[in-house]
């Protein structure tokens, strides 16, 4: 067991950290103030990142991506955590691996332009009545000759206003329960497809979130992604790695950045004649944050290595999702406490980190749902999740 980065990993990580610090950090406050990332800034960071091969690093090389292993991808995503959601999306892409399940024609039409950063897409699974319970969706696609007729509504779809197309789940067989759900690729601009207004959120400034409305949208047979009825299976198979990256790794990166600032503040801020870092109650908070970050990171890397060995690691991913997002929640809460009034004020970014952190325990499966996944596996018999000898 070697807990050390290779020369390449260490160079990749430090290069990204530097790139993010120089190219992206100066944009964070502007996006926070204006609520959006200016088009010319988005184009510049996309170009700078793509020229360095930093766009769509998770996608295999034969499809034009970076071809990183799961572990390398997590190291990279952890650095992404050092900046905001919208800047990650524009600089490094948000290319879901679900499109790899497409036919060569589908990959040519939808995956390739996405890997190159020419088109952007979002995943649209969530509905007003189907959040955690993804199988209870009401959007339907009924067959009419060669075409599918899509109707229904999706909600909270990230980047909806910017995306060029959407990967949408719909019921294709009412009788078959969770085996009756299929996945479609839906281009923006099709007749009957409308996108609602942006729904401002507590955090994640700059990223739009909107409802999608499908009113008898006609879809050709080439839009069905994967076999009919395999929609949920496909989602389960391809979204686990993304969850580990976008929630697990990024939450750990964010927590690390916040702890850095907190420690610096504890060194500098003086009360009662000495730096507050000398007070034991502050020390406890710092030590707890560092311990929790370190533990979550080890769990992340172990899970990534397990996936690289060919395991699905579904429950391990759930464990990291909960552990990392809750660690972030505690670390940022302590940061606000240690910064005190200035942690609550908008003059410093701490309050923004606090708002941005809250969603991590909710999106991509709530803490509660993931704990259920873990517990169900334990009760069925999965001692390898906690017992070394059973592995």
């Amino acid at each position: 067991m070697e807990f050390q980065l290779s020369d390449e990993q260490s160079l990749l990580v430090s290069t990204l950290r530097r790139f993010i610090g120089i190219e992206l950090h100066p944009l964070e406050d502007i996006v926070e103030q204006t609520g959006e990332l200016a088009v010319e800034d988005a184009e510049r960071i996309l170009k700078n990142s793509r020229d360095l091969g930093f766009y769509a690093m998770n996608i295999p090389e034969q499809h034009g991506g970076g071809g990183l292993s799961t572990l390398d991808w997590m190291l990279v995503e952890e650095q992404f955590g050092y900046t905001t959601d919208i800047l990650i999306r524009r600089a490094f892409g948000n290319v879901y691996e679900i499109l790899l399940a497409g036919t060569p024609e589908q990959q040519e039409r939808w995956l390739l332009p996405s890997v190159k950063g020419r088109r952007t897409f979002s995943i649209a699974f969530t509905e007003p009545e189907a959040g955690s319970d993804a199988a209870s969706i009401r959007t339907t696609a009924r067959r009419e000759g060669d075409t599918w007729i899509l109707s229904g509504q999706k909600c909270f779809i990230s980047d909806a206003h910017f995306s060029d197309f959407f990967v949408v789940t719909a019921v294709t067989d009412q009788e078959a329960a969770h085996r009756g759900i299929s996945t479609f690729i839906v281009d923006k601009g099709l007749e009957g497809f409308t996108i609602g207004p942006d729904q401002p959120m507590m955090g994640l400034r700059g990223t739009t979130h909107a409802d999608l409305f499908f009113d008898d949208v006609k879809l050709g047979p080439e839009t069905l992604l994967g076999p009919e009825g395999d929609g949920l299976k496909l989602a389960l198979e391809t979204l686990g790695r993304v969850r580990l990256a976008q929630i697990g790794a990024r939450a750990i990166g964010k927590a690390t950045r916040i702890l850095d600032l907190t420690i610096e503040h504890a060194r500098q801020r003086k009360q009662f004649g000495s730096p507050i870092g000398e007070f034991q109650m502050i020390q406890k908070m710092l030590a707890d944050s560092a311990m929790e970050i370190k533990a979550a990171r080890l769990a992340l890397y172990a899970t990534a290595c397990s996936i690289d060995r060919g395991n699905e690691a579904r429950e391990e991913i759930s464990m990291v999702k909960v552990q990392a997002s809750e660690t972030l929640g505690r670390v940022v809460d302590r940061a606000v406490q240690i910064f005190g009034g200035s942690g609550y004020a908008k003059g410093l970014p701490i309050e923004r980190y606090y708002r941005d952190a809250r969603i991590y325990r909710i999106f991509d499966g709530t803490s509660e749902i993931h704990r259920t996944v873990i517990a169900k596996a334990l009760l069925k018999g999965a001692p390898q999740l906690y017992d070394l000898v059973a592995q």
Binding site: D7, E8, T15, F19, L52, G53
Partner: protein
Amino acid sequence: MKVLVAVKRVIDFNVKIRVKSDSSGVETGNVKMSMNPFDEIAVEEGVRMREAGTASELIAVSLGPQACQETIRTGLAMGADRGILVETDADLEPLAVAKLLKAVVDKENPDLIILGKQAIDDDCNQTGQMLAALLGWPQGTFASNLAFADGKADVTREIDGGLETLSLSMPAVITTDLRLNEPRYASLPNIMKAKKKPIDVFSTDDLGVDVTPRLEILKVEEPQGRERGVILADAAELVEKLRTEAKVI
């Protein structure tokens, strides 16, 4: 022309330096190390020459423990063609470094050597000058611009009161100043390619150089912390304090 760049592994510029508890030096264990920023500028200049066709081969050389391979890999990922490591666990002083580099130069016969003007750890600013002297080559230190024409290197230097341009005959030694260029980010494909580029490893014995230190470090101490300033009401109070407290007037 064949270009050699020297790269030193130093404590990363972001790290808060801590002095060892026995005052024998600074703590380097479990501390992030990086390429000396001035050497990064040297590598960048070499890579630009390589891209412009001025240089036909670019070699990154480092001296020190095995971990210096990482520093060389950084240079390879930026665009150097191959690396040379002179592996030693000894503490190397500038003269020993210059002698080792001269031995490498004798093997490789480069037309140009580019080094950082100094390393951010000891700030000696000696190696380039000593190397030029040992080789008997012309030197252009603190370069803020470099141009090549008619077998000469025109080196612009930042000096007190302005800029000075020297015309050096080749081969020559050049040391880089901060404003020579802005080093690039290593791209993902180049980071992966760097793994496959060769690094030759030599020992100090292979090169026949005695690296025994000539200096003895007696003590390393933290700089004294600055006392907190006070805001004075007016100039009269300042004069008063300069006279009575600081006793400078």
